[in-house]
């Protein structure tokens, strides 16, 4: 019996895997693990479904130049080919002609070594990952306001003890179902739940107060709430004076956001906004959590900052069972951004343009600090530059299905097609792998060991339960194999525990300090919260009790204003399009769509009966959604739970992201996945 964690979302539910007979592997509850208390959703229960799947890749594939088809190759041939091509491309076009693209599903060890591969073995500045499309706006806001980016600065279970929980753009009842149990316990205690979402989701069904804004207007809602709190004298003046800076400018800036103005911009009635402010003003403990609905916008960072300002004004951040947090999305969305696969960061959440950070990491890696490349491009900008004049000509992809998950996906697929060399490491032939010149079959989840950092900043351990299928190798093996073929003399450990020990050293002294964490401690302590700088340090479940991670220890209140979505509805594209997830699928669906026990009916278009009647479509009939970038045809789901001026499409299938907009947040470089203008026809 092996204790491990679910392969999917950032909740990283604890579970045990039980061998049954020679081949079968069964998922069982692990009731002692505190985040989920043994609860799982159907994705977790069916997670072993990819084992022995007929679509599982078990041999490297190389595209035959003669036929254009992918054909089986040996590992040596495939890695030799990749290394030779990378070397020649870099020789002819410079180091940055090769780019690396990682994922928020990679273990900390893989993310760390992928960054090292890029910076040391390839010497390219161009590495980024799909976590940019996850929680990067909250990360950017957290860094600005608190001086640190840890999704939740407290254990998730703390929310049960808060008095009012505000969920901004989170549908956790479907995206991380076991987390919804905390809402029920909170309400049983007499606490209140507020949900803000353009759709009345199953999460909203558990809310005491539900606000349904136009997509992209969570920011003015926050400004309006703060306006009302200030007007009512509900600001915690002593806290603001002692623990923050910049609040006076923020206070003044919201004087112009009275409720009726917010109503006109957001589509949320002034009375509903007042109800929220009244609820917050009267609560001793308030917790605000944002998720993708608030963050995946061209003003996502500003939106999060606006809600942080609300939490700070109420004096909540650092207070027990209160404050602000982000519900990270991907399994290792948190750890994946801490250890060096982000274009501007080195391990330990160090900034790559900080000389001291470069010196430290270079020391651990045994290279000269000057040899480390500088800051590269963010995920979408990187993809947008592929195959262009002066742009990268080769791309290595680990754990990301870009063709499905990138915004403006038709354009991104064109960029991928323009490459000289596309190498994809994956477990199945994803839509992106299908475009590759070389496909490398890698191990998955129960077949390997490695750490993840969940949405709470708790470092946890996934443990190997079964042997991988013959023919596949771990990403660590792939990275080491490429590094040695590229002539690197730096260490690229293939043993995960050894890799983790090196990661811990590299992170020592950084903001996300793992130096005191070991596999044994994780096993013994149900995970360890960073920062944990030494072996005798207990880890840090709760941040900010005494000070924030800024130089002066005070939180920053940052003035933000509402600019609005980059693309507004007009005569040709008269409705808002928003995207999101369904319970039974995960991310691009490369795994979950192949698990037979999970329903996968394909994409659908959710729309209100008023709009359905306008375009003349009935429930279940095909409907066409178009934007300036692409088109999707899918069955209509006619529901009264969505705003009549908005349509929703889930993003687990090819299609949704052909529609989405690639406007980027100026700070986080997050694309505007959650809103653009669309047309609907029967």
């Amino acid at each position: 019996m092996t204790q491990t964690h679910c392969p999917y979302c950032s909740l990283q539910c604890g579970m045990t895997l039980q061998r049954e007979g020679r081949a079968a592997l069964a998922v069982q509850a692990w009731p002692e693990f505190p985040v989920n208390d043994g609860a799982l959703c159907r994705k977790g229960w069916t997670a072993t479904g990819l084992r022995g799947h007929r679509e599982r890749l078990t041999t490297p594939l190389v595209r035959d130049p003669a036929t254009g088809e992918l054909a089986a190759a040996t590992w040596d041939d495939a890695l030799d080919l990749v290394a030779a091509r990378l070397t020649s491309i870099q020789r002819d076009h410079g180091k940055d002609a090769v780019a690396v693209f990682g994922g928020g599903g990679l273990t900390n060890e893989k993310a760390y070594l992928l960054g090292k591969l890029a910076r040391v073995a390839l010497g390219t500045s161009l590495i980024d990952y799909n976590g940019r499309w996850c929680m990067s706006s909250a990360a950017s806001a957290g860094n600005q306001a608190f001086g640190v980016d840890r999704g939740l600065p407290f254990p998730l279970a703390d929310v049960e003890q808060t008095d009012v929980l505000v969920l901004v753009g989170s549908n956790l009842a479907e995206t991380m179902p076991p987390a919804a149990r905390h809402l029920d316990r909170l309400r049983e205690r007499g606490g209140r739940v507020v949900v803000i979402d353009p759709r009345r989701t199953p999460t909203a069904d558990r809310a005491d107060l539900f606000l349904q804004p136009v997509p992209g207007t969570d920011l003015p809602l926050a400004l309006g709430v703060l306006h009302l709190l200030d007007a009512a004298g509900a600001v915690d003046e002593a806290y603001v004076a002692a623990r923050t800076t910049g609040f006076d400018d923020v206070r003044r800036s919201v004087a112009a956001w009275w409720p009726e103005r917010v109503e006109r911009v957001s589509g949320v009635g002034a009375d509903e906004l007042r109800a929220l402010a009244t609820l917050l003003a009267g609560a001793a403990r308030v917790t605000v959590l944002t998720a993708r609905g608030a963050e995946q916008h061209s003003q996502g960072t500003a939106t999060v900052l606006a809600w942080i300002n609300v939490a700070l004004a109420l004096g909540m951040c650092g207070k027990p069972s209160a404050g602000y947090g982000c519900l990270t999305g991907q399994g290792n969305g948190q750890g994946g951004r801490e250890h060096g696969q982000k274009s501007d960061q080195l391990p330990g959440y160090r900034m790559i343009d900080d000389p001291a950070a470069r010196a430290h990491v270079a020391g651990v890696w045994g290279v000269e600090p000057e040899s480390l490349p500088g800051k590269g491009l963010s995920a979408y900008e990187l993809l947008d530059s592929l195959g262009t004049d002066g742009g990268p000509r080769a791309l290595l992809v680990h754990a990301s299905n870009i063709v499905v998950s990138a915004p403006n996906a038709v354009h991104v697929a064109e960029r991928l097609a323009a490459l000289d060399l596309l190498v994809v490491a994956d477990v199945v032939l994803s839509e992106t792998a299908a475009m590759a010149d070389v496909v490398l079959p890698v191990t998955q989840w129960a077949e390997e060991t490695g750490t993840m950092t969940n949405l709470e900043g708790r470092v946890i351990l996934r443990q190997q339960a079964v042997a991988p299928p013959a023919g596949v190798r771990s990403d660590l093996d792939v990275i080491a194999g490429l590094a040695s073929r590229l002539g690197s003399t730096a260490a690229f450990p293939t043993d995960p525990e050894e890799a983790f020990a090196e990661l811990a050293r590299a992170s020592a002294g950084g903001r996300a300090d793992y130096a005191g964490i070991t596999y044994d401690r994780i096993r013994a302590e149900h995970g360890v919260f960073w920062p944990c700088p030494s072996a005798d340090h207990p880890g840090t479940p709760r941040l900010f009790a005494d000070a924030f991670a800024t130089p002066d220890g005070r939180a920053r209140c940052v003035v933000v204003d509402h600019v609005g979505a980059a693309e507004q509805p007009d005569d040709d594209y008269p409705v808002h399009l928003t995207t999101g997830r369904v319970l039974a699928q995960y991310q691009s669906g490369a795994q979950t769509r192949r698990i037979t026990d999970l329903p996968h009916d394909g994409p659908f278009v959710e729309l209100h009966p008023m709009l359905a009647a306008r375009v003349g479509v009935r429930d279940g009939e095909p409907v066409v959604v178009t934007t300036r970038r692409g088109e999707l045809k899918a069955p209509a789901r006619v529901v009264t739970t969505i705003r009549p001026d908005t349509v929703f499409v889930p993003f687990h299938w090819v299609g949704a992201n052909r529609l989405t907009h690639d406007a980027l947040d100026p700070s986080s470089r997050m694309p505007a996945f959650k809103v653009c203008a669309a047309a609907v026809r029967a």
Partner: protein, 485 residues
């Protein structure tokens, strides 16, 4: 003409909401070089803001909220003194401009100081109309002690100070401001009456029927309304009060004047600028003098003046962009949404009262609601919502975005959401989405424990627990045939 050397001196007269928005746009505008339209636009600017009130510029439209008590006065301040200093904006508060000299391009303050400008912006707002009521003004030219204007923060403060001694109040004027003030006084415990000379309340915004329903709503809230009646005389003494032209005399401790205003154009007129109802401006907010602009309530574009913040802000933003040398679309008038801000009195007016189109309306005097949409070419071009704002968040969106609706939609917007069909849970219906369990599978179980063990329903998010309990309680138990032995 070549640009003058040195920074461009911009002087703004008036420190209201339009003026502050303009200043925000000016100091925040670092236009990309490519967007510059004329030489000299790269030069730095200096901004001087002249306001006759002694307070930092504040959010005027929330004065009635301060009166009502929902807003602390300090919450109205739009920018801190430090902010103006940080952005090199010179604030001249408590200063009145006496004259504008277009030839010399300067303004003279009442104390004789002159301030030169390269560009002058008039944001002088409007002046409250003084209704023709005898006894309103005392011999010394000041308002009678019981009479209050309601335009400035000081008016609000003075009125608030008078409340503890006041039991009764009369609000003269049944427009948006009048109703807000009336509700505020009423919420403060002052018995309040409203006198409106027109035939119904909000006569500039809504039709007769909506106005009548509004009056009923107000009466229900304890505020008497006199329409079609003019106050003619204020008298003192034991039988004194506010006499109406219908013979009534309303005894009162307070008279609050909210009977509208007119654009403040005196400076412009005396300077020789073209003035009709307001200061006449072109599509770039420029007056008849190319160095002078006007925005907000004092400006007139075409035959329109406005009295609302959103169009004033739109003008301010356009002018800021124009002065910064950015190419701007011409100002073509704004879509307006007038919203009453008063507890328990729900009114929204979208667009112009005289907008042309087909009318879809639902009137319910019993419930005190009246809702009217004016639809032209499938689009909502105007709307009146009284007493029921449940769809305001959608209707304003459709109006502002000029969404083209199908024939059924205006009606649907005014009718309530149709009741959903009763939920039928047949055996194939999925009850637990976390574990993918159907009602049939749950009905096959004998207990909640059995459901958990055999189906895993209720063990994920826990959201289906109530439904599962209900299914178990209402299931038909399996029939066991008792075979007698």
């Amino acid at each position: 003409m070549s640009a003058p050397p040195g920074p461009q001196r911009i002087v703004v007269i008036g420190a209201g909401m339009a003026a502050v928005r303009l200043v925000e746009g000016l100091v925040g505008s670092s236009a990309p070089a490519g967007a510059r339209t004329h030489a000299g636009a790269d030069d730095p600017i200096t901004v001087t803001l002249i306001g006759d009130e002694p307070h930092l510029p504040y959010n005027r439209i929330l004065l009635s909220a301060v009166l009502e008590g929902t807003h602390e006065p300090s919450a109205l301040t739009l920018r801190s003194a430090q902010w103006y200093a940080d952005h090199d904006v010179e604030l001249r508060l408590g200063s009145r401009v006496l004259t504008v000299d277009l030839e010399r391009r300067d303004v003279m303050l009442v104390d004789g100081e002159t301030i030169p400008y390269d560009r002058l912006v008039l944001a002088t707002g409007s002046i409250p109309t003084l209704p023709p009521i005898r006894g309103l003004v005392q011999v010394d030219g000041r308002l009678h002690e019981r009479v209050h204007a309601f335009r400035h923060l000081d008016d609000c403060t003075r009125l608030l100070a008078a409340l503890p001694q006041a039991r009764r109040a009369v609000v003269v004027g049944g427009g948006l401001l009048g109703l807000q003030v009336a509700r505020a006084l009423s919420v403060r415990g002052v018995a309040t009456e409203v006198v409106e000379g027109g035939e119904h309340l909000l006569r500039s915004q809504v039709g007769t029927q909506a106005g009548r329903i509004l009056a009923r709503d107000l009466r229900r809230l304890g505020t008497e309304v006199y329409t079609g009646a003019r106050a003619v005389r204020l008298t003192d003494g034991p039988d004194g009060g506010l006499r109406l032209d219908n013979g009534h005399t309303l005894s009162t401790d307070l008279v609050v004047l909210t009977a509208g205003g007119r654009p403040s154009t005196g400076l412009a007129r005396n300077a020789g600028l073209e003035v009709r109802r307001g200061v006449v401006v072109d599509a770039h907010l420029t007056t008849s003098d190319p160095h002078v602009h006007a925005i907000g309530d004092c400006a007139q574009r075409g035959d329109r003046t406005t009295g609302f913040v959103p169009p004033a802000w739109e003008q301010a933003e356009l002018l800021a962009a124009h002065l910064a040398g950015r190419i701007t679309p011409p100002y073509d008038g704004s879509r307006t949404v007038a919203r009453l801000r008063a507890t328990d009195l729900d009114v929204a007016v979208l667009g112009d009262a005289d907008a042309e189109g087909e009318v879809v309306e639902v009137s319910n005097p019993v419930a005190g609601s009246h809702r009217r949409l004016v639809v032209a070419d499938g689009r909502i071009v105007a709307a009146t919502l009284v007493g029921d704002l449940s769809r305001i968040g959608l209707i304003t969106q459709l109006y502002d975005r000029r969404t083209r609706l199908a024939a059924h939609e205006p009606g649907d917007l005014l009718l309530g959401e149709r009741a959903a069909a009763p939920l039928v849970v047949n055996d194939a219906s999925e009850v637990c989405s976390c574990a993918g369990v159907t009602a049939g599978a749950i009905r096959a179980c004998a207990s909640l424990a059995a459901v958990r063990d055999t189906t895993r329903a209720t063990t994920g998010c826990g959201g289906c627990t109530d439904t599962v309990r209900h299914l178990l309680a209402t299931r038909t138990p399996p029939i066991h045939l008792e075979v007698p032995s």
